[in-house]
Symmetry: C2
């Protein structure tokens, strides 16, 4: 097998292994906010408000799923909805004050866990790993 094949096989195995465990670890890390909820909240925050359709497209989820997740987030009081003034079909979704607080807490906890994991990586390796992941993710 060529070195190229071996590399691809390794990447395949490692990413699969990661996927297997991601949900489990995420739920341990911040039990009150699922991986998907956290990600949705994060995207709303990053974009300064977005629509349910944007979330569905970005996460490749059915709009019904997004609708329910958003409903749950609203019930929890971590987001606010407002009708889009430019298009009354849609809604603009934003994190509430409580949502921003929760998001920040979850982010700190996640970040702490990553920091611990990367203590023995030097800056160059970290930057390299990040570059590869971004490059990989861009093909999604």
């Amino acid at each position: 097998m060529s070195g190229r094949d071996a590399s691809i096989e390794t990447i395949q195995r490692e990413l699969t292994a990661f996927a297997r465990r991601a949900r489990h670890k995420a739920s341990q890390l911040h039990p009150e906010l699922s991986l998907v909820s956290y990600s949705m909240l994060d995207l709303m925050n990053e974009r300064g408000g977005c629509r349910a359709a944007d979330l569905a497209a970005h996460f490749m989820l059915d709009k019904s799923t997004v609708s329910r997740q958003v409903g749950a987030l609203e019930k929890l009081g971590v987001i606010v909805r407002e009708v889009d003034p430019d298009d009354h079909r849609g809604q603009i979704l934003r994190p509430s004050e409580a949502g921003l607080k929760l998001l920040n807490e979850a982010y700190q906890m996640r970040r702490q866990s990553f920091l611990e994991r990367f203590t023995d990586w030097d800056d160059e390796d970290l930057a390299g790993f990040a570059r590869y992941l971004v490059r990989y993710g861009e093909a999604d």
Copy 2:
């Protein structure tokens, strides 16, 4: 924010994004075999037969979950069970002939998808990415 912090944030975001989409892509790639089922079958194969308790430990799943998954795999005819002769409490689980065939097909399909994704990566980048992933995964 330091470059180190930025790298960690990027890695965090990208790995989270990956986890979000992994299940979805896996189900598209081989609809008849879920990510978890595939992984279980793979582990049985790699270890030359294993017990349900091993699967539960490895995937950090409840034994009841494993029991049902294994039941489904058996019903599909992709594994065979036999009572462990050394310990009649346990069972040895192995892929059947059909299971090996399915495993190989799923593997080929996954590999094809990875090959396509990496067409524009040179060998060095591929090897580097693989190295980082392994190093990351070892801390699991």
